[in-house]
Amino acid sequence: MKFEVQLQGTAGKKQRLVELERVGEGYKVRLDGKLVNADAMQIAPNTISILLEGQSFEIYVSPAPDGTLKLQSGPHEFIAEVVDPRAWRGRRHGAVEAEGRQPVNAPMPGKVIRLLVKAGDDVEAGQGLVVVEAMKMQNEIRSPKKGKVERLLAKEGQTVNAGEILGWVE
């Protein structure tokens, strides 16, 4: 099995080709074609123990809704994107939508308690659009860009899920 892995951490971006070959309960590992002395075991769902040249690492994996993986190793966190070269269709093509129409997402589940703007309003980047209450805290959801509020889907009193689109700014 071959995977192209892109890793984003505080030290920057890295990319490697990771090849896995099943050996018993674990895997034999090649990095960019080179065999490394690594022993990888999934010890619990979403918890992977890696012995790399004798160094012991424990990595916790949590999949994000956008298809990336969040990796935690002690105090360190990374975002990984894994591409299976045999399934290029699954590949996402970065931030094509950086300009133009932008969705306003709820960053967490909660209840919409106030709308600060209405459709047609001009807004600045970072301006508060909607107030969502979660866990006794009120949070302003801000505009992703300068522009005009095209639509507001959120209604006062409505319960929203994480990632749910509250409106659009164009």
């Binding site: 990095l31 790399l52 360190h76 960053p107």
Partner: protein
């Protein structure tokens, strides 16, 4: 002793109370809202009853529903925990009316001590210092100046109508007084149309130090020593420890005596906390009384060896406090951090959601009080406190080392937590020296964040391998390749067999 206790709370404190009851052979009844069916306090209770929808106003705050469950199930006592109704005098009153013992102070003591103004009056009567100053405006600048020198500089001039820092001046010395008075008054007049100003003692970098008190129903009141809770984010305590790094045995005795006097003056019974501000010269000033068990009670438990929840239950049942506790002194050191479901990288936004994986620290000197488990979805409706991680040791240094070690072992995924914040706090030189005050953390967080601790060589490679292994386990890759190879061999076999069949006569 009680036969059955209703726990009018949820989360870690409900679990904490359940455990105390179980150790005392008391049956427990939990209540829960619609989103708490799978919560730990429901799973661990002897009995549990639904009391309404998610909003606490319609469930955990409904006194009539709690009373109904308590009476229906034959409870003879009720523990309120902290938060929700714990400081609402209507709850002890309702308990009295229903013939149920309230595990906490009587309603009258709650009223006499609970509010800031009532508490302040009580403190003055009990001869306990409060932050010096006037709550009435002073008209005459000369009178104000003499008052300022009597309370000692620095002082704070505050506009009666003030707000947002306008009409407010810190005066460091007497020579600055006249000018500052003019400025504050004119600024207040311009901003609020009211030039009246009052004077208050300005405490430089005060510490938050609180005294845990216990009173029985027979007139004995004891102090169980102090907790320092100066590390706060926007007035919310996040790290608590006992003993305080600055409190001397002499100061401990004085503050303990002051707290006991206040408790006596208010006719207090059961567990309570008297909060003080302590300035750089170790003068202490009464702040307020919390008429309930505190979130941070475990640090006192670890340095006194007492179980405060069991003690609350025993006192409510009429037991006496032992005489010997009047001279109790802390042993060793304990420290607690509050782990919240919030994202420190995103302005501490709450982060409810499903806990995908979790690794809880164990080992010497570590205690974890919590109401969560792997696979549980943290509801969005309540306080985001997940767990309280408590460490103790012989010294403050050993305790901090243990806490750091435990934080390294602590992992929670699926939701964000503020564990990284504590990794940072526990390495800050000022914190290690105990040089903390109530604004310290807010100031620290305003400073640029230092680079993450050094990445161990190989971490990134290990992370990339882990990502690939995880992906392989998810996409049915193993199944795919196994099926593919099986099919490969079997097609040869099939062909061979077919050939042989063909050759059959």
């Amino acid at each position: 002793m009680f036969k059955k206790v209703l726990i009018a709370n949820r989360g870690e404190i409900a679990v904490r109370i359940l455990r105390a009851c179980r150790e005392m052979n008391i049956k427990t009844v939990s209540v829960f809202s619609e989103v708490d069916r799978t919560s730990l306090h429901v799973r661990l209770a002897d009995e549990a009853y639904l009391i309404g929808p998610a909003p606490s106003r319609e469930s955990y705050l409904c006194i009539d529903k709690l009373m109904d469950v308590a009476k229906r199930t034959g409870c003879d006592a009720l523990h309120p925990g902290y938060g929700f109704l714990a400081e609402n005098p209507a709850l002890p009153r309702a308990c009295v009316d229903s013939g149920i013992t309230f595990i906490g102070p009587p309603a009258e003591a709650m009223e006499a001590m609970g509010s800031k103004t009532a508490g302040k009056q009580l403190a003055r009567r009990a001869d306990v210092p409060t932050v010096p100053g006037t709550s009435d405006p002073i008209e005459n600048p000369e009178e104000a100046r003499s008052l300022a020198s009597s309370m000692g500089y620095p002082v704070l001039l505050k506009a009666i109508a003030g707000g947002g820092g306008k009409g407010m001046r810190v005066v460091a010395t007497e020579t600055e007084f006249a000018a500052a008075w003019r400025d504050a008054a004119s600024e207040a007049l311009n901003a609020f149309g009211d030039a009246r100003v009052f004077v208050e003692k300005y405490l430089i970098s005060p510490r938050h130090v609180e005294i845990q008190i216990f009173s029985d129903a027979h007139g004995r009141v004891v102090s169980l020593g102090e907790r320092e809770c100066s590390v706060q984010r926007r007035h919310q305590k996040v790290v608590e420890e006992a003993p305080s790094p600055v409190v001397t045995p002499d100061l401990r005795r004085k503050m303990g005596d002051a707290a006991v006097r206040i408790a006596r003056a208010g006719g207090y019974v059961n567990a309570g906390t008297v909060e003080f501000l302590v300035d750089a010269s170790l003068n202490y000033y009464f702040l307020e009384v919390n008429t309930r068990l505190q979130v941070e009670h475990p640090v006192t438990e670890q340095v006194t060896g007492l179980d405060l929840v069991k003690l609350q239950i025993a006192i409510a049942a009429g037991h006496r406090l032992p005489f010997a506790w009047e001279t109790i002194t802390p042993r060793g050191h304990a420290m607690e951090v509050r782990l919240y479901a919030e994202d420190p990288d995103n302005n501490f936004f709450p982060s409810p959601g499903k806990i995908i994986a979790r690794n809880a620290p164990t080992g010497p000197g570590i205690r974890l009080d919590e109401g969560v488990y792997e696979g549980w979805t943290v509801p969005m409706e309540y306080d985001p406190l997940l767990s309280k991680l408590i460490a103790w040791g012989n010294s403050r240094e050993e305790t901090i080392a243990r806490l750091r070690r435990a934080l390294d072992e602590y992992t929670i995924t699926g939701i964000r937590s503020n564990v990284g914040l504590f990794r940072r706090i526990l390495t800050e030189p000022e914190f290690l020296r105990g040089e903390i005050h109530t604004k310290w953390l807010d100031e620290l967080l305003a400073r640029p964040r230092p680079m993450d601790s050094q990445l161990r060589e190989g971490t990134e490679d290990a992370a990339m391998i882990a990502a690939a292994v995880w992906q392989a386990s998810q996409t049915g890759h193993t199944a795919d390749s196994a099926a593919a190879s099986e099919q490969k061999t079997s097609s040869w076999k099939l062909a061979g067999r077919r050939e042989q069949l063909d050759h059959m006569p």
